[in-house]
Amino acid sequence: MFEGFLYALRRHGVPVATQEWLVLQRALSLGLHESSLDGLHGVARALLVKDLGRYDAFDAAFLECFKGALAEAKTIREELRRWLDDPRRLATLSDEARALLESLTRDQLEQLLADRLREQQERHDGGSKWVGTGGTSPFGNSGSHPSGLRIGPGGGRQAMHVAEERRFREVRRDAVLDVRVIDVALRLLRELGRDGAEEELDLDESIARTAKNAGELEVVLRPPRRNRVKVVLLMDVGGSMDPHSHLASRLFTAASRAGRFARFRAYYFHNCVYEAVYADAHFHEPLSVADLLAGTDRDEKLVIVGDAAMHPSELLEPGGSLYFHTRNRTPGLAWMRLIRAHFRRAAWLNPEPERLWTGQTARVLSTLFPMHPLTLAGLEGAVRGLVRGVR
């Protein structure tokens, strides 16, 4: 069973190294888990999982391996009994649920719970039969229906329930991003070089010059190492991008942090870029694409944030721009191609999940720009592409 746990972990994508597994064995032989399942959960997680994003996968694997032990556990029955004995909780039930409970005797109910737990192979959410969360079965946790029907322990923290709740689900690696996480991902976007004011002591050179100078001290300064990367950020705003505006603004906050990039400029567009991009999100201050490209080095990195979703004519036909009454004789796609051709490295970050990039415009644009989802994994992929030029 125990080796099984190792492989279950690996199957769930928790990369456990042999070294870590051996350390766990040592910890267990020292009795650090205090011979309890809770202890095992805590010790194993502390030693095997080093990434919050994988806590959820760990919990899933733990459940898979040790669930059998849970179903047999008497504590559950006791808890159920305690729960049933508490009249306040019964009061929170809906009529339906109360009727259901009353139709069953105590023993039937316990038997039913034990059977369900044994039958059930997988974690379960929703539905009306299995034990799990968010469902309408008489058992389970935080269901939409009888929210008081919680069989987990009140304030206790037993491992099975921690695992069962899978509280770390929301911090999975593919979850949405906060400023800090974006910050860290962007930190990899760098090429260090020495430019600018000389304000750091160059020790080796100082010693060499001083020696040449017959011991007369000569101090040599040099510029500190700085990030040379310059970034142009183009953001799609309005319309279908509105639900994503918080995400986009977090990216903007992290990217515009002082000293992050040697040069950082952000412009806005709506749906597709035509003759001009705009310095403000209200489209009052245009900057023509020609001027933008003229003032931008080819080695600067282009990052576009947008959902690439629009009416095909907005991208493919002349006069496609809906909002700006300019002479756009050239279809949006031609402008996009022009921009793409200027930059050596570009990435497109799409806040929609990958499975929704099925629209014609998204498909066309993703052949032009390497498109990544605006998630942690996607952002890291985009950064890698921008640094190494992997398409």
Partner: protein, 275 residues
Amino acid sequence: MSALPDFDRFRGTATYIVDDGLAQAVNVALALARPLLIRGEPGTGKTVLAQEVAGALGLELVRWHVKSTTRAQDGLYVHDTVARLHDSRFGAGDVRDIARYIRLGPMGRALASSTRVVLLIDEVDKADLEFPNDLLHELDAMRFQITETGEEVVACERPFVVITSNNEKELPDAFLRRCVFHYIEFPTPELMRKIVRVHHADLEERLLDQCLEAFYALRGLTRLRKRPSTSELIDWIAALKHAGVDLARIGGGLPFLGALIKNETDLDTVRRARA
């Protein structure tokens, strides 16, 4: 090594409440003599943990606050070349004695100490990406050599190393493999009640209820850029107590909101949400 009967067990202290998971992680790290890597939201007491462990075990605490410019070498020792150059030019002191210009860093001091110490490496993620890798050998072997003098510093007793990080993502795998990891979850209201009690023992139960309710409601706002933390809650309650705020007001407006929310955009968000 067998299970030590007098094995140092950390169960939190009178002023620092821990949940079982954290206590367990500390004890595993202590028993296995491995560095303990602590992650968690700012303000959940990562740094204080090292202090409290040191206090509970009666050990000295050596702190190493990592900054964006910190290099691994700085933690071991620094050869103060500028002072030496200065002395060579202006003739103060014996320039030939290099040892006079070697200054031990925090990690160097922890290893050179004749007794066991707790070494806190605070905010390891602030430094360069390569920083943790550069420390691998020293953390493993608990020894290092001062190249300039050839002297070797070997730890008599392995220090208990606590490393805090706001984000473990960018720490290298080789480094992570050697650590015991724990993520300090944000305290549940029940645990938070205990924590607040430690700092404000005389607080009225009713006021505490109201404060906690308002606090968790604030944290529930998903649009906040920075959610208020434990330490901010404690400060806020201190401010409320100090000003003798009328409890009834808590239900309506939130006085001293600035103690909880430190960002203009967030203040707006809160105002709008509560309006």
